[in-house]
Amino acid sequence: MLGWLLFAGFVLSMALVVTVGNALIFLIAWEIMSMISYFLVIFDHTHEKSVKAGIIYIVMTHIGTAFIIASFLILFKYAGSFDFAAFKSASRTIPPNLKHIIFLLLLVGFGTKAGIVPLHIWLPYAHPQAPSHISSIMSGVMIKTAIYGMLRFIVFILGIEGIWWGNLILILALLSCLVGVIYALMEHDLKRLLAYHSVENIGIILLGIGASMVFLKMNLPVLAVLSLCAGLYHLINHAIFKGLLFLCAGAVYKATGTRNIEKLGGLIKMMPWTAAAFLTGSLAISAIPPLNGFVSEWLTLQAFFLGALSSPGGYKVFFSICASLLALTGGLTAACFVKAFGITFLALPRSKGVTEAKEATFSMKFAFVFMMLLTVLFGLAAAFIIKLLVKVSGFIFGLNTEGMNFSINNFSLAIPQSGAYLSTPLIAIVFAAIAGICFLCVHLFAGRSRIGSYNTWDCGYYNLDARTEYTATAFSKPFRIAFNFFLLPYSKTEKIRESFYHVKSFKYEVFTTFIFRRYVYDPIISLVLLAAKQTRKIQAGSIHMYLAYILITILLLIFFYR
């Protein structure tokens, strides 16, 4: 019951955040959203992990809110009102230097909620600890309210002042993409893996938005609209496929009682619906055509290409590198989801609980099918959706989008500036036709196939079982070695001995060093603790001392404000 109330309150508060027109009410709604989501993170409060995740979450989210409040106060000083309209009309009178400061405050404030690197630290803890349907909404919708905040306050109200704003966002976005996906590759907790991919996808969304800010400053309105469309489209798509993936992860957790993919396996036979849903989500997030994730990544690449085409020297190289790093992210994501799907759902079960897993109930299957349909639909109806998004983007920038048309007959996307076409329905049709023709040809010309069933080839060894399967750790080993300059991996080996001479078993664990935590957060936390320790000295417990403090304060006040 409490869960349902919190859930309803959570959804309502998010709706409030994106509909209010007054900064004060916005802040209240923002706080309600943060608090309710905190309660949802610690919903399972008997777990020590949940409580710890909750603390990290609430501290980080309030640091973010503090920055947002600071920026609103500066805006209020000029506007004299908390109304968005007043903010917007007052923004012209704000001196540029102050605008830069407001931008940075807003970027940190909303960036914390969105989980851009290096402010992502709470996200992989908080999202997996919430119940799975909440995780799917937190990852799918809540972090997008931060993107809304950025667009509303930075682009719409404040107006872009310097070209470096967009460049800074692009660089942070690239960092988020790569850091998110590399950590996801190392992660073997199914829900935390998905949480890291939220960091990565926020990066992809911000690539579109950052590029559009740069283009606007370069006076390229068509490109600005196109790349903002790409960003917004990815925002919607991420909400869909990440929601689906989190729901599947929840179904797996419910059925098997574990989120560690090293203990899963073979679930495709026990849970075919969940497997199909997870596969669809994996394909979408890995940008495989013709599903929705592919379309938005393609559009982002097109935006970068056109940016490189119409900008001078240095920016050509910068945009090309942005595009290629986006491609790298895409490749690593595909690898990560081959791991996530392959280890969880294919081959043999790796633990006992898995063999007794039951398929999800009808209500859950219904949700899967609905989200799967949306995934496909948002891929196939790309041209239609882009038409709508062009209007939205034009409104955000205050541009007239009359002549901007990126679609032909709602059937295919056409980018006139690059002469490129993309038709997801045609891809689907061609693909299905080719696969069908191949299937028919093979069966017509080669006759009925003789298929024997036998054990997996075992090199003459007599019995392969789940212990000889490839593991997730092994799967990600090449990546761990390739990125060891960033991951700083270390391992622990423990020998469990029966006696001095006989080692019964080995325990081998691999860890990665979280460099942001170690080199950014840990020093800050120890500094805060040190400062607290020092200030405690003035709180000695003696009443006379405190009376003296009061006296000194009053004297100082009289002295300064007489």
């Binding site: 085409l309 290629s324 690898a335």
Partner: protein
């Protein structure tokens, strides 16, 4: 009118795709002072595989069964996107050059899943390595495509292949795309098609559990993927001699030029394969980095207008 010709061109290329591998093998053997098998050997192998019984592991799921068709369809879809003999004949209303990268990723995704599906450690090892290599080489592919597209002001392959002159930066892009070809078609020094040694195989490990007809389909798919990349270099980046209209003489010249260019590429690949040793897996990072730096260089030169 264009679409039947496009389909015909694709069928023709599909028919000759295995021959390219046969030629490369022949050249390699000749370079090693051996006679070698006939250039038609790939066709004999395919015929044999189609006639054989197929063995499927008990552990396998439907993913394993559908993968050969998906991989084949993804390769053929990619082939439809590339103009080979006539610069305006390709299915460009379906997508642009960038789509080729994504469409091939679809086949690879399923192939990697199929590798994990049977529960064999070989398959998992192959999948892991294949995804590793491909994710590192993907940015290079995108970057090379960017360079040639920047020179032509379009990502549409038809527009690129009707460019009258080849810019210097396009030649660099072709070089980095050559690196991509080596990695994507599992050639030495990244992978070795000829070995079945446990420690070194990548692609072969992934498809180790396949046999009979399914294996034949996967082999055809990789032959086609190879010709997709070859055509990218031969017809899109270096469109010398490519026909702009459909007339018998220009088509003959175009086909002749295409065959010449493919043969030259085959010679390059064979010489490289014979003269180089296979790298350790983790040195593929260096390989990809060199290719990436080369493609960045391409962008820089392209931005200078060369």
């Amino acid at each position: 009118m264009d679409i039947p010709i496009c389909i015909g061109q694709t069928l023709l290329l599909m028919l000759f795709a295995p021959l390219v591998s046969g030629i490369i093998k022949k050249i390699k053997n000749n370079l090693r002072m051996r006679i070698g098998a006939s250039v038609f050997q790939p066709y004999y192998n395919l015929a044999k595989l189609f006639a054989k019984e197929e063995v499927v592991s008990h552990n396998a799921s439907w993913i394993f069964r559908v993968t050969p068709f998906i991989v084949l369809a993804s390769s053929i879809s990619a082939l439809l996107l590339v103009p080979a003999f006539v610069s305006r004949i390709s299915l460009n209303s379906m997508g642009d050059l960038l789509l080729i990268v994504f469409v091939l990723a679809l086949g690879r995704f399923f192939l990697a899943l199929a590798g994990l599906d049977t529960g064999s450690a070989f398959g998992g090892m192959g999948s892991s390595r294949e995804m590793f290599i491909s994710s590192l080489i993907e940015p290079v592919a995108v970057m090379s495509i960017f360079v040639v597209s920047l020179n032509a002001h379009s990502t549409n392959p038809q527009i690129i292949s009707s460019m009258p002159v080849v810019a210097f930066s396009s030649i660099i892009a072709a070089t980095s795309l050559f690196f991509v070809i080596i990695a994507e078609t599992s050639r030495i020094p990244v992978d070795n098609q000829e070995t079945h040694l446990e420690l070194t195989m990548v692609h072969e490990a992934m498809v180790l559990e396949y046999s009979g007809r399914s294996l034949a389909l996967i082999e055809i798919a990789s032959y086609i993927k190879q010709i997709v990349f070859f055509s990218l270099i031969a017809s899109v980046i270096f469109p010398w001699g490519i026909s702009s209209g459909i007339s018998i003489d220009s088509l003959l010249i175009s086909i002749g030029a295409y065959c010449m260019k493919i043969t030259i590429l085959c010679v390059f690949i064979s010489v490289l394969e014979v003269s180089a040793a296979k790298m350790r897996l983790f040195r593929v990072v260096d390989f990809a980095s060199i290719a990436f730096v080369l493609s960045v260089l391409g962008v820089i030169i392209s931005s200078m207008g060369r």
